[in-house]
Each structure stands twice: as C-alpha cells, then as structure tokens.
Symmetry: C2
Subunit: 369 residues, 2 copies
Amino acid sequence: MSFGIVIGPRVRKSPFYEATVAAGVQSFTIYNHMYLPISYGDPAAEYQRLTEGVSLWDVAAQRQVEVRGPDAERLVRRLTPRELKRVEAGRCFYVPMCDHDGVLINDPVLLVLAEDRYWLSIADGDMLFWVQAVAREGGYDVEVCEPDVSPLAIQGPKAADVMRDLFGGWVDEIKPFRFREARLNGMPLVISRTGWSKQGGYELFLQDSTRGLELWERLFDAGRPYGIGPGAPNYVERVESALLSYRADTDEDTDPLEAGLERFVNLERDDDFIGKQALKRRAQNPTRKLQGVVLDGSPIGPNQHPWPLSLDGERVGEVRAAAYSPRLERNLGLAMLSLAAGKSDREMDADSETGPRKAWVTPLPFIGG
Amino acid sequence: MSFGIVIGPRVRKSPFYEATVAAGVQSFTIYNHMYLPISYGDPAAEYQRLTEGVSLWDVAAQRQVEVRGPDAERLVRRLTPRELKRVEAGRCFYVPMCDHDGVLINDPVLLVLAEDRYWLSIADGDMLFWVQAVAREGGYDVEVCEPDVSPLAIQGPKAADVMRDLFGGWVDEIKPFRFREARLNGMPLVISRTGWSKQGGYELFLQDSTRGLELWERLFDAGRPYGIGPGAPNYVERVESALLSYRADTDEDTDPLEAGLERFVNLERDDDFIGKQALKRRAQNPTRKLQGVVLDGSPIGPNQHPWPLSLDGERVGEVRAAAYSPRLERNLGLAMLSLAAGKSDREMDADSETGPRKAWVTPLPFIGG
C-alpha cells in the first residue's frame, strides 16, 4: 500500500527541490514544514552509494535557528543539558534540548559562528518558537530568527574526494565537528564535517536560497568521477549506526538519558539549564532505555509505526525503528525497553506489521562505534 | 508529476488511520507531525459531498494544547490579541496567536472546558513548545500538555441530519462556536459546531485514541442514508470561502492584520498580550494585505507554491493559494498584495506554474460572507 503526497503552498519547497525532481526523487516526507526527499526509487543502490561511494542529499529541511547578541552564549548554554567547553568559532556541538520536565524536545547540532552568534541546526520541531519564547520571556538580549540557510549534505566514504577536487586540499583539514566558511563561485557557504550518517562527509550550509540548483549541480559534476548519485538520510544505515532519530526513536515523554544520550548531559553543571531539576529526579529513578535488538524472520522493510514488545506475555516496551541490514544480514531494531527487559538475554515477542517476530537484546551500535 | 509519501514511525498515525485507508485514501500531507488525509482520489466528488451532502474528515492532526490550572485564563488571554468576552464553559473562540514581533504563529480555536481548563485546537506548528515556554519562563501556575484528543469532522449541509439521527435532537441546539460534552457507546466526546469549512457541521473531539475506528464507523453508518463519504479539508471550498490557511496564505513575517484578521485583534485592550507593542507599530505603517484575486486562463489545479504577482513589471506581491471554483466557474486566488496594488482595479501579471496569467483584485470572500 503506497500513498501520494500533496505538493502545495502550505509546505515549503527546498532550494534544491527542482534538482531533486530532475534527479528522479520518488518520495518525500515533511520535516520542519518543508518537503524532504526520502527515496529515489532504488533503496539498494542508495544504500550502496552511501556505504561504499558518495551520495548527495537535499537536507534543507534541517533549518537553522540563529541566536545572535550579547546574551547569545548564555542563552545557548541554558537550552541544553550538555556542558559546552571551548566554545570557539568553527566548532560544532551535538546539543540535545529538553523542556522544563526534562523531556527531549530536539537534538540539534550547534554551530558556533562567533562568540555572539550561533546556529542551532535542528531536527523536526519548531525550535524557533521555543527559543524565541525562552529568550523574550526570560529577558535575554538576543535576536532569534530563521536565516536563509539551506544545508546540502555529501555523505559516504568518497565524499572527501569530491570535496577536495571541488574546493581544494584544505577541506581535508576540517576535523570532525568543525566547520569553515567558504565561497564557491560567490555562493556563501559554511562547510562542516558533519552529517546524519556514520559514513563520513560534509554538510554545505548555503546562505543564498536563490542558488540551490547551482550548488547541487557543482557538487554533482564534481562527484561524477566517483559515481555520485542522489540520496537521502538513510533509515537502514542510521539504524545500523544507532544514530538517534528524534520522534522516530523517542516518544512524547522520552528524556535524553532514556535515549542513550547520557554523554551529552551533565547534571553536575554549576550553571542552570532548562530541565535540570527534572532530569535529576528522572536520573534517580530510571525506568527504560533505548536498546538494540535483533529480530528473526524475513527481511524487514522499514517499519511503519512502533511495534509492541513483550516478555512472557507482559508488555516491556516497543521497537521504535526496525530495518534489515544488508551488511549484517540481520533484522535490526531500536527498542525503548524497560530496564529489566533491557538487561535480559531472553527472547521477547514483537508484534510487527508482518506478524509476530522474536527479538533479543544486543549491544549498540550494530556497526561501528 | 506525483510523489509518494513515506509511512514511518517518525510521523504519527491518526486513530482513524486504518479507517481512512479502508475508505480509499490516496494522498496525505503531514500536519503537526501526523499524517493528514488530503484526497480520496476523486476531487470533484469530494467537493460535491462537502458543498451539497455530507463528508467525514480525519482531522486528528489538529492537536490540542491543554492549559489547566489557576493561571490558565490569564495565560490564554496573554497568548492572543483577541479580547475574549464571556469566557464560559462550552464556548469556542477563534484566537490568532502572535510572537513578540507581532507575527502570526498560529490561529487555533480555543475551547473553554472550564474556567481553569482550555484547549487550543491548533493549526500546523508546535504551539505546545511555545505555550510551555511562555508558561514556565513567565511563572504561570498552569500545566500544559497535549492530551489524548483526536478530532473527527463531519461537514456539509447534511451533517446536521446525520448528527441528529445518531445523537438526538439536542445537537441542533448547539449554536455555532459552542460545544457540549457527550458519550457515544461510552466514548468520551466533545462535540462542537465548528469546522474548517463554511458548509456547516461539527467536530467530534474523541478523548480515547483506542476507539477511533469505532467512532468513524458509527458516523459512517449513520451517514449512509445521506450519502456520506470520506473527505478532507478542501482546498477549493476554503479558497472560495476565504478561510485562512496558516502557512499557505501567510509567510514567516505575516501579522494578523495583514492576514485580514483585524476583527480578532484589539490593540486597545487594557491588559497586555504577546506582540501588542509590535502590532501597534505595524498597524501604524501597514504595507500589505491578503486580498482576493481572480485569474484568467484554463482551470487551475491547486497551486504548488506561491506565484509572484507584478503590476507594470514591478513586483507587488504573490498569489499564496489558487484554485478553480466549480460554483463560480472562475479561477480564484488569495494574494498577499501591497496596499496600493490591492486598491487598484488594474490588471496584474501572475507567474503561475502553467505560465503567465492575468489577475484582478476582487472582494473577499468569493462565496458566502
């Protein structure tokens, strides 16, 4: 059963939209009120390009919330449970964000543009409203806006080759989670060594939405010798790599500790952050955690919705995301599980869309780490 | 060119989802992180059912933000530029909401459940984050949450017949923008005389997501004698009726005065509301307004994105939404126009997806009013 998506003015098109259509995009989701390409019709080829070659992704839907002004650093620190050290221009930080009850409400990458200017490069959710409300109601001396910035991601083991050919050897000097500002034929870019895969690569934050097609073409041309092709954030690869997908792996009450983000949470920080007291309470009485599971049966097409998991007939959690791994030749799942079930090596029962399956806990990530 | 939509766990399914699939849903959009049916494959029949018969809509994506507690009324008043009079249980109010810069950030319907308990029934946008941040940072003594409430809409001139047969004659006593609480076979409902059409009807707010299919079936069965069929918020009818579609008709900087919502804005209110000072400044120097236009040429399929409008070669605004009206047998558009162009009766040029078209300003709404 497959369904169409309506293209209309309520949802924004990316600056790369026409290029993705020309490249044969077949399906979309909607993310931050924009169309986000998901498939070009050949999942096996897209997976292979990402894991063995190089892949170009329209991720303009990953919007930026810009925070600028004298109180910008203080506000940014308050927005995340992570303790940020060496906040210097050119650095990126993965910064989970919580509400006042300690619930995870987004997991952006923070780009430090200057000591008084930051971008939160956000997952799906209106953090613009959240940050504006906190800033204005809290009396912070900052401006908060969504700037004209549209990321294009180049991912895969050959991404560095393409980037070197196009920009020069200096791109090799960009370390992971660092960025540099650059121009390409006058197009203003921030180039970061980041991306929503574990296959290596870069994100190019285009600061001029009128030039999306040009940037896409330049990258595509440079990538041709390396067999570049279109792609998208890849469900299978990200499950294998256990890269968190906010809203897929988490529900309306998940905190960052449950989501496995404890290394980005410092409850002993001297300064306050939103959700600190609530997270301390939650940390004292944890009940569940995101875990890896393997599932038996025929290869799993990505799941449509979470699958209930039970142990001895008792509900112990759910498989939030499931996919078949071509590299491991197994069905993998990310499951939110009770702590007891997560520590058990016993067989659980998953109620999948294609019938019952057996499931077993296994360490994360499935590949890499 | 048509595209598929990916069904996955990042986006929630409605409690009515399986019923819409059984009823033949063909395409969706995503709205408040949920799948929202848009078409069942026969636009002409769906339009006719809505305007002449009765139509059943899964609008569970219209989420509720519940505000409850001693400061709830004070907070709700602060969230909207509308001055609320006679805030009594059982009443609904259309309440545009602004940010601190006076920009429209949502246009919910407020349901007064009790003097200390409210639902904001929201358009597409994370008002949960906005309201939580304002409440918690502002020190309001309230709880803010998204309750388990999923609206199903029954719309069209025969909707009242169906509702009367199913619930009894008392539903006729519900006046426009009023609601009553009721049960149907034990299902807890709020039944309001509201809906996102001008064809009359009700919204049933189901407070138990496990019983969506049962509610859908009960309504469908009761509607059979009246020729009920599935439908969805209707682009053509809402353009004819000039019902505002937040994000379609508005951009990132639209204020409620520009959007034609001046009767829901009281800048002379004694009490403060978010955006009041900014709106006062904007009101002193207005630059543009949402206007009706008619367009020449062949019948318009709903537009994919806004179309630039120019007058004597100069850009004067854009057609945000356009559709062909079967009842008026004309192409209609809602256009954000400079005040000068909006007052002109001269011919403008629209750059539509199907080539250039002529456009003329005309009063709103096109039908009804």
